[in-house]
Amino acid sequence: MVKYIIKRILLLIPILLGVSAIIFILKTFTPGDPARQILGNNATQEQIDAKRDELGLNDPVPLQYVRYIGGVVTGDFGDSYRTGEPVLKEILPRLGVSGIITLGAVFIGAVLGVLLGILSALKKYTWVDSLVLVISMFFQSVPEFVVGLFLILIFAVNLHILPANGIETPLGFIMPMLCVGLASIASYTRITRSSMLEVMGEDYIRTARAKGQTEGKIVYSHALRNAIIPVVQSIGTGLANSIGGGMVIETVFAVPGVGKYIVDSITQRNYPSVLGGALIIAFVLTIINLLVDIAFVIIDPRLKTTIIAGGAKRKKAAKPKAA
């Protein structure tokens, strides 16, 4: 198992190199001079040139890239042009905020999605099925910020039960989670529905029925455990997409998340923060994908024996079988 994890972690290195390389390339094409952004609009040309030298912006791009990667390896992501704080110190709390919202949203989306998926699979081609489809599709068909603004309108402005924006009180997390979660219900429902339909047709379900097992237990203990595997995969991608992509929601609800931090940094041409943010997201993504694969292995024993046990298990199984 450890060997497998190490292999996956090593895979992280090419990804991080790739991400930083691409951003460096994009950086050279984007107009707007970071030095001017730091010094403000009325800095003189000499000051700007001095600043560019100080930041090493005039060096050839490959040299800057190598110096940056050298820093990253030692954990020094450089300082943000805008505030001078170390980039890590600014990103980590924001990563926490984005993480909480993403986890909450995926939880809402997955739980509701799976339940609705099972319901519509069991009641295939009935009005329940199409009603579930319509409801789950509704939130996926409306732009995120429209849902966000209407949620604020309803819960904060008219009902005064949730704060309109900001996360001083933990209540502030509820609406962003709801917004992102509701949008993802449709995909989880659809995936659960089709994989449930597939699993319910399998032979071992018929064997379970032949045992006299109740329909409810068959659905939850037999069918769901098999049907959940593709759902876990899409949960992984769901987590991955919303960690970095929460820009719109974080703007509407004024939440200091990673997505907004990176986009603000792009507007301010604050490249160390942009690079730091993207690398952190890449790192988190790889960890999420790894966790999803591990979850696979725990849920699906067929993988466990091939991946984790590797040598050990195979030796034992080869023992001569009883007649």
């Binding site: 107009p31 707007g32 001078g84 900001g166 001083e168 509407v252 004024a254 301010q268």
Partner: protein, 523 residues
């Protein structure tokens, strides 16, 4: 049919909720209520548009709106400025006099105590002046400061780089807040003050800045001006980019003030019963500038005149100010002491045929393509101009990049048209910056014609250095008339600022450049 019926019900429910809150509310201008007298333990929450990178602009050579609003509450300036006449009023300095063309002597109050307990002395002013000179050399804060020296405990002479009687008024700007050396050391030195500006002797003391979330200020109990009473014990400044979200925070009671709202959007919120909308003029007019460097069609005066004839000024003012003001007939705002009415309504009447004829004369019979540069919030006004020019055959491309590219393009003159306002509260050295030879040469002028004439430059110098206001006023009228005759710029409409405040809040005041004063609000 079930599906469609379901969608229809859901949406009508939502519409009913938002329509219910439509009712009219009148416009309240700024600085109209009586000053506050009671002190309470309440907290005021103000939401601004974006988070500044530093809170002490003077030491970072930056001039960020949000930072100025906050620092104005925590630091006090030598003089205050009378909003109506633009005259300097005593504040930390009781009186002042010009010793010669560039030296001005200030007499300080002796009863002022800084936040760290030390009394205010002339040395503090000298220390602060040196900070301005050294750290803000390239913006208006430090550019005109040559030095300062203490004559005695409470008298200081400040030396300026240029001769300009109105420079004293400039001392009222929030960037000129006075601090003391011991206070700065206590805060951790000049660099650390950007994040922790506890020094100064303002009406409120800086408490804490949680990055990405809020800045907290607390009332300065031993503030020297006894007839000022801060109603709120604590002020929390939060940052929310989306104006709609800022406004809703007030309706839901999470915050009391949504500052710098786009005017168009603020007028829309007038309909809501549980908020008040404050829309006010701060003495700035929005101008349409033509890039007159050669290679741009707008270098030809006929093209500029054609554009001037095609614009529907009333409609533009309606859209630009959300219907709160009409078109501007002069370079400055009517509220300014140096206001001159240059245009008559007939001159500004819509003349499509005339415009087309001028274009034909200029050799653009079959149309012309121009680009107009601006930020995201100027899109509505640009759409009106675009439509007006379409009527005479000019296709106007609207280019609204993000801030960094905008600044690059604006400095580099990468545009044919640009709409920029100029704030001239008094005859300070950076008046009429767009036609100032020095500024254009420095290349750091956002917009403007990018060329000027020696005649305009000479007039500018006379305006700045002329001690007598009346004569200077004549020179200003002369300069503005030249700009009108050569169609160097077209005045559009008075730029307004707007804020949305809670229903029960009064005392909405402003500091320089129309930024709000968060210390004068009360219930």
């Amino acid at each position: 049919m079930k599906l469609r019926k379901l969608a229809a019900i859901l949406l009508s429910a939502v519409m009913v909720v938002s329509m219910a809150s439509v009712a009219s509310a009148d416009i309240i201008g700024a600085d109209v209520d009586a000053p506050n007298t009671t002190k309470t333990d309440e907290t005021l929450v103000v939401t601004l548009a974006s988070e500044p990178s530093t809170l002490w602009g003077a030491a970072a050579g930056q001039v960020e709106n949000e930072a100025e609003i906050i620092i104005a509450a925590t630091q006090d300036t030598l003089v205050k400025s009378d909003k109506a006449t633009g005259e300097a009023l005593p504040n930390l300095a009781t009186e002042w006099e010009w010793l010669d063309a560039t030296h001005c002597q200030f007499k300080l109050r002796d009863d002022v105590v800084m936040n760290d307990g030390a009394p205010l002395t002339a040395d503090d002013v000298v220390f602060t002046a040196n900070v301005w000179k050294e750290y803000s050399a390239n913006n208006d804060t430090g550019r005109y400061i040559a030095g300062a020296e203490a004559v005695d405990e409470h008298t200081v002479v400040i030396e300026f780089t240029t001769e300009c009687p109105d420079l004293v008024n400039m001392m009222s700007w929030s960037n000129f807040g006075i601090v003391n050396e011991s206070g700065v050391e206590a805060a951790g030195g000049i660099e650390a003050c950007a994040k922790n500006p506890i020094m100064g002797c303002g009406r409120y003391i800086f408490k804490e800045w949680v990055s990405g979330q809020s800045v907290t200020l607390e009332r300065n109990e031993n503030y020297w001006d006894l007839d000022y009473a801060g109603y709120f014990k604590t002020i929390v400044v939060k940052f929310t980019n989306d104006p709609a979200a800022r406004e809703m925070a007030i309706e839901s009671g999470d915050s009391q003030v949504a500052a710098d709202m786009p005017v168009i959007q603020a007028t829309a919120y007038q309909g809501s019963p549980n908020v008040n909308v404050v829309i006010y003029d701060f003495g700035q007019v929005t101008h349409l500038w033509y890039n007159m460097t050669e290679g741009h069609p707008t270098a030809d005066q006929k093209v500029r005149q054609a554009i001037e004839k095609a614009i529907n000024y009333e409609a533009l003012a309606m859209v630009g100010t959300g219907g709160s003001a009409t078109q501007a007939l002069g370079y400055l705002s009517p509220s300014s002491p140096y206001y001159h009415e240059l245009y008559t309504l007939e001159e500004r009447a819509l003349d499509i045929e005339g415009a087309k004829a001028l274009l034909a004369e200029a050799g653009y019979e079959n149309g012309l393509e121009l680009t107009i540069l601006g930020l995201q919030d100027s899109v509505p006004t640009y759409t009106v101009i675009q439509e007006n020019l379409r009527a005479i055959g000019i296709t106007l491309n609207i280019n609204t990049p993000d801030t960094a590219s905008f600044v690059g393009d604006a400095f580099g003159g990468n545009y044919d048209l640009i709409v920029v306002g100029e704030w001239i509260p008094n005859r300070n050295p950076s008046a009429y910056v767009f036609v100032s030879e020095g500024q254009i040469a420095s290349g750091f002028v956002i917009g403007g014609p990018k060329v000027t004439t020696p005649e305009l430059e000479a007039l500018r110098q006379q305006i700045i250095t002329e001690p007598d206001n009346a004569t200077a006023n004549g020179y200003m009228e002369e300069l503005e008339t030249i700009m009108k005759n050569d169609t160097i710029t077209t005045n559009l409409y008075p730029e307004l600022k707007a804020a949305v405040i809670a229903k029960d809040l009064k005392g909405f005041g402003t500091i320089e450049r129309g930024f709000m004063d968060i210390t004068t609000l009360y219930k």
